[in-house]
Amino acid sequence: MPGARGLVLGALCLLGALGRPPAGRREVSMHFNPGWNDSSVNLLHVRAVDANSTLHYVWSSLGVPAVLLLYTENKHSTLHINWTQLLSPEPAGAIWVEPPSSVLHASAVVFTKLFEYDGANASGPAHALFYPPYDLAAFSWDSVNQTLNHTALTAAFRGTGPPRTFHNGSIAFQVTAYEESSRDRRLPGLLHTANSSKLEFVMNGVAPRGNSSRFMLEMLMVEGPGRHRRLESVRSIDDEYTPTIFEMVQLVSEPQGTQAGPGFLQWKTTAYGAREAKRENGIRCRYSPLQAVNGTLLGPSIARAYFGKDVGGLAAINISFGGEDGEIYSSTGYLSWSVLLGFGTPPEDAFSPLVVAIMAVALGTPVVLLVAGAIVVLFFQKKRYSEYEPIN
């Protein structure tokens, strides 16, 4: 009996150690439609392996665009897809991981709708006039296979709306996987670990239906049971990597009871209105509080394929782009918003060495000078007095 307790304790310790995965390197591989030869369906499996764990990302535009994130404490865990079931009207259970017990964290984000509202006199979407929303389930998606870049580890899901909407415009979900911790060169310059991936939501040339249209993206969070979600706004004094943006938002889902680490979504409260993101074409980005959704996952999606239909604890969040004076989209017709999703504690910004160095030199020099000067003055005055003494 004591032995068994010791074993459990040991296992718990091991789990705890695993809960905070090392921020080391991961071997990343991307697979387009694994086990299926038809490229009219888009499913991208990204597998990121390190010494003792595997992260599986499944990106797909099947039904509603969605991403599935699975963290397993086994470097040999494999993802299995039953394609016939996945493409059937009832895909529940079509995606699973072997061995199933190795899964420590599973979550999905489903991008359901794109709203458009009149932001002329409203400071936010709360009291605004809404146009009929675009349902992303009704979009048609280009094949991801052509956009797949195995060296840069990127892929793009580009979708166009139903005929006679959007006016040649498109939206895209651009995916970037990471092998190691680093920081994006491009704005908003998010810091990422090997345990995270970046999703960039891009709207290009979508014709606004009003003079002061603003767009809003609805996301649905799906998770297994026994998880606690919290939406945090992290205000930082450091805007060095994302000029003039001082707020980072992170949606953290922490497991209750088990020792598995949290999963997170993290983004800066800004979008950019040009292909080359710059501070001056920044678009204010707001978010609604997390709303619990009672109901089931509607329509086919990979979230439903993994979690089943009756998954509890759904929550929705809306990200709206553009403030009172945000007319940038109407002039450039381009919008890009980046969000990081991953496993573990969300990365935190720290002062760059340059800032620390400048402050140290700038504050240190006057002090050094003061001391040196004091010594020199003391020395000279002594000398002077000693010269004067005989005269007196």
Partner: protein, 520 residues
């Protein structure tokens, strides 16, 4: 009381007959008689409003930063070039403003010309926005800059010529307050004007911005009208009182530069680095307060103008204090340290920014009062004009360069880095202050004496000078042919050594103090 009332009544009664060109002996209505207080007050009001337009329009970009950047689609470096283009002409003009007024145009025509430059500059600036041509806006700021700084010199010269020896300090004080009011009103009202115009036109865009700036330009027209009336009144007073046209008395000789002492160069460094960390910050401050501290645009405008508001009442107080206590270097040190603390607070904390900005306002006023008079202690009087001209010139040069640098830094590295950069600038000026202290200590300079000691030594020097003068006179009698080249300047120098109260226009440092870059 009754008597004066009667006099005024009488004056009012025969007001009509006293129309134009009547001899000075005739009684004139109080408002029209250049010798009477009422008339001088009228002139004072005109003088104050003379500078209002240019002060109002100088900070138009800061008040409308988001709108300018949004409507013109420019990055922050380009935005800050609006300030740089204002400074460029003044790198050179600081040396010539006084010369132009004294020798070329005369005070009246000079004022009108500079006022016209300000107006035309603002109109070009607004047209640039209307036509959506940012280079035209830059050009407008350049023309505006040609007029603005020199107009401040002209305004000051008028003040000296009308209020010499009487209420001059008060008049300078009032002009200063007017300058601050101009800046403050601008900061707080332009955003509102923009939103009104936006309602009128139904949309934002460069047209809205252009119209808003045109409306702002009305203040310049108003100032130009003041200049015209003032020119008329001055001409009339000249006729009536046979008084001379006002002169700045500035003498600038560029070859003096090679004689400048190390202390003076250190003072220049303090000046350039300090102002470079204050004005560009105010120019970029609005967005900072909105983004970092979640202020509303109105609140952000208010806090951005607090530095100007505080320095209006504090400048005379600190001026008085520094005069009474001396120890200028210690005051400058305090001001620089306080500014450093406030920049660090803004950069590294989320503390209420009102604290930091109020500290900045107080420190800024203290520095202006303690730093600028120091030049007079380290430079012989005949070089004062050159020293001040040079100081303003490199200050403008510094402002122009740092403005653009600040814009670039903000775009690429954000506000934290910008604040660190400003803190580094302040540290550089702190280093210069510390060095100045030791240099002064080692060379036995008088920069850090208390006022008492200064007075004592001044008396001593005066006695010595008297003796020397006696000797010199004897020599002069002996060598009757050897006369000093310029007896007026010699007498002035002697009198000021004595500590005698000279008419204010003899102090060239007083008149140069009224350059905008100093008073702002």
């Amino acid at each position: 009381m009754g008597e004066s009332g009667g006099e005024e009544e009488r004056a009012l009664l025969d007001g009509d007959s006293a129309g134009g060109g009547s001899p000075a002996g005739r009684a004139l209505p109080a408002l029209c008689d250049p010798r009477r207080l009422a008339h001088r007050l009228l002139v004072l009001a005109l003088m104050c409003f003379l500078g209002f337009g240019s002060y109002f329009c100088y900070d138009n970009p800061a008040a409308l930063q988001t709108q300018v950047q949004g409507d013109m689609k420019v990055n922050t470096a380009q935005f800050m070039s609006l300030y740089a283009w204002y400074s460029w002409p003044n790198v050179v003009l600081c040396f010539f403003g006084g010369f132009l007024i004294d020798r070329v145009f005369g005070i009246r025509l000079g004022t009108i010309i500079f006022g016209t430059f300000v107006c035309v500059g603002q109109v070009i600036f607004a047209l640039g926005a209307l036509f959506n041509a940012f280079w035209l806006m830059d050009a407008g700021r350049f023309v505006f800059g040609i007029g603005g700084e020199s107009l401040a010199v002209a305004q000051n010269t008028y003040a000296v010529s009308w209020f010499k020896g009487k209420e001059l300090n008060l008049v300078f004080g009032l002009q200063l307050s007017m300058a601050r009011i101009g800046s403050t009103v601008n900061m707080n009202i332009m955003g509102w004007v923009y939103s009104r115009v936006q309602d009128l036109l139904g949309s934002t865009g460069h047209t809205t911005l252009g119209l808003t700036l045109m409306i702002g330009g009305v203040t310049c027209i108003f100032s130009l009208i003041c200049a015209l009336i003032l020119a008329y009144l001055d001409k009339r007073a000249e006729k009536l009182l046979c008084k001379k046209q006002g002169k700045t008395g500035e003498v600038i000789k560029l070859t003096d530069v090679k004689d400048f002492s190390l202390s003076l160069w250190l003072i220049f460094i303090i000046c350039v680095c300090y102002y470079a960390a204050v004005f560009p910050f105010i120019g970029l401050g609005k967005v900072f307060f909105i983004e970092k501290f979640k202020f509303s645009p109105q609140e952000a405008s208010a806090i951005n103008s607090i530095v100007y508001i505080i320095s209006a009442p504090m400048s005379p107080v600190f001026g008085f204090l520094v005069d009474k206590l001396g120890k200028n270097i210690i005051w400058v040190l305090c001001a620089v340290l306080t500014t450093l603390a406030s920049h660090i607070m803004l950069a590294f904390t989320f503390w209420n920014p009102w604290i930091a900005m109020c500290m900045l306002g107080v420190a800024y006023s203290l520095l202006a009062c303690a730093l600028w008079p120091m030049v007079a202690f380290v430079v012989p009087e005949h070089q004062l004009g050159t020293a001040y001209g040079f100081m303003q010139s490199i200050q403008n040069l510094g402002l122009a360069i740092i403005s653009i640098a600040a814009g670039t830094i903000l775009d690429s590295r954000g506000y934290l880095f910008l604040e660190v950069f400003f803190s580094a600038c302040i540290c550089l000026s702190l280093i210069a202050v510390v060095m100045l202290y030791f240099v002064n200590r080692l060379t036995g300079g008088d920069l850090n004496w208390s006022a008492k000691k200064r007075e004592k030594l001044q008396k001593l020097a005066a006695a010595e000078a008297e003796e020397q003068e006696k000797l010199r006179r004897q020599n002069e009698d002996d060598l009757a042919k050897l006369r000093p080249k310029d007896h007026i300047s010699l007498r002035n120098r002697y009198l000021s050594r004595l500590g005698a109260q000279l008419p204010a226009n003899y102090y060239s440092h007083l008149s140069t103090l009224a350059h905008r870059s100093v008073l702002k």
